[in-house]
Symmetry: C2
């Protein structure tokens, strides 16, 4: 079968990014997240499908070499055309620079670091504008950075300009956010998780679900910490470590976290980005 | 919530078509088909996700006014870049003229009939070429048409040219195929089912699943007839009529048809096309 598939038109990087959004969604059980078997109360499977459809134009712009901020803002704007709210803001924040790196021919820690370091104040301004499309859970910034609270949206742009902050600088200042940590660190966890997915076998959504539990067991989810505090984040990590490797226990944890309203969304973002890298590196569906 | 969504960038017709492919896939229970809860033995959920990703470029070409054959062949070629085989050939055969009609500003029986009647011999040739990408279950043609067996792919193009057959003519000659019947009949069942989906309420995938069972109960599925004969097709229709309206019974039928290897795929194609029309007419997700 793969012989036939290989003779067909290969997917572009933007298409692989969209497919990563959909494969991440389909992977189940993914405790606390919307997956093929579970919805949250007001955030359902179809909201993520519509989010993936609407994101594609921004991802294509990233592939064409548009500035990171322009591509990201467009992706978020398209994603938001559904009634569920924020579905894939965090995934897109990781995917856009990765697609840019892939399009530039160097999808590696060094390649994506080069994209990160090339970001400008204009990219930072577009990142802030993207927050106007969607409610994103974030920590309060330190007192000295209150004029740069992302929730201010484009109202913060003059402060960005005054301080000369690029999008890379904004990420460097976003302590405690798992996605910003990837930006600062050459996407180390993303590339590591991509290799986990490649080395695993079976259907790709199953590999993604296993990689999700591994990540959740190995490191605290920053969205859980933001929304529920450090004790809950540590507790979720411990529960994931206990359930890991036992599908029935992982399913039980998935039900429990949904019931408790605990959503480890940053871990899902990272696994989505890793799925993109795995697809680019030849994992086939 | 919908107020926020409405302020965002609206979806294009090509995006609505891709979303229709995904929403149709998500609708469950859809007896005998891959859905959110069920895979077939060698055709899984993620193959349809990849098919929907790969179809988009052809759908965008349709929206830009490319000939129906060119857009369809490109959509099928992109769809086929996955290891499951034929996922959405039939849906695309309905979606491409509908997207063309929507882009021309007249998504109605008259508007899509105009697109159908404008097809050429070149469109027919591209339609035949599309069969080279994928195995599609079809009936044997009548003896007098054996040189036009679609399974001959581009080998049949000289015969098409000699007979001067347009794609509309090819569809007119495809007796017994439910999708070709839509082409001949102004997409009557598609538009009717779109209104059923609009008039229903609740999450859109649930509406799609109910519309699927209604269609299966109201008319025999032509793919079931092709693969299993008229008695089985009549029997599936009867079982759908009995289960209709009772979610537990429909779920039981879904399990049973998957176990029996009976796939009412033409009904899924039609419901997908209807979902597209419903989205274009304002149904929101």
């Amino acid at each position: 079968m793969s012989g036939v598939a290989e003779r067909q038109h290969p997917r572009t990087s933007a298409e692989n990014a969209q497919l990563a959004l959909l494969l991440e969604l389909a992977g189940t059980p993914k405790p606390g997240n919307v997956d093929r078997a579970r919805d949250l109360s007001d955030l359902r499977f179809e909201h993520f499908l519509a989010g993936a459809v609407g994101s594609a134009e921004g991802l294509r712009r990233a592939e064409s070499g548009a500035p990171v901020g322009v591509a990201f803002e467009r992706a978020v704007r398209g994603m938001r055309h559904q009634e569920g709210g924020n579905t894939q803001f965090g995934c897109l924040l990781l995917l856009v620079p990765l697609v840019r790196a892939a399009a530039a021919g160097d999808l590696s820690p060094a390649g994506v670091t080069e994209i990160v370091e090339s970001t400008t104040v204009a990219d930072a301004a577009d990142f802030y504008r993207a927050f106007e499309h969607v409610d994103v859970a974030v920590d309060d910034p330190p007192e000295s950075m209150s004029d740069l609270d992302v929730r201010r949206g484009s109202d913060a742009v003059p402060a960005l300009r005054a301080r000369g902050m690029t999008l890379s600088d904004v990420m460097a200042a976003s302590e405690g956010d798992g996605n910003a940590a990837e930006w600062r660190d050459g996407f180390a966890a993303t590339f590591e998780t991509a290799e986990t997915i490649r080395a695993d076998d079976g259907p790709v959504p199953d590999r993604i679900a296993r990689a999700f539990v591994d990540r959740l067991a190995d490191g605290e989810d920053s969205l859980v910490r933001t929304n529920h505090g450090p004790e809950t984040a540590a507790e979720v990590r411990r529960r994931a470590a206990e359930a890991r490797g036992d599908r029935a226990e992982v399913t039980e944890l998935a039900e429990a976290l949904v019931a408790e309203g605990i959503n480890p969304g940053t871990t899902a973002d990272l696994v989505c980005a890793a799925a993109f890298v795995a697809l680019e590196r030849g994992v086939s569906v």
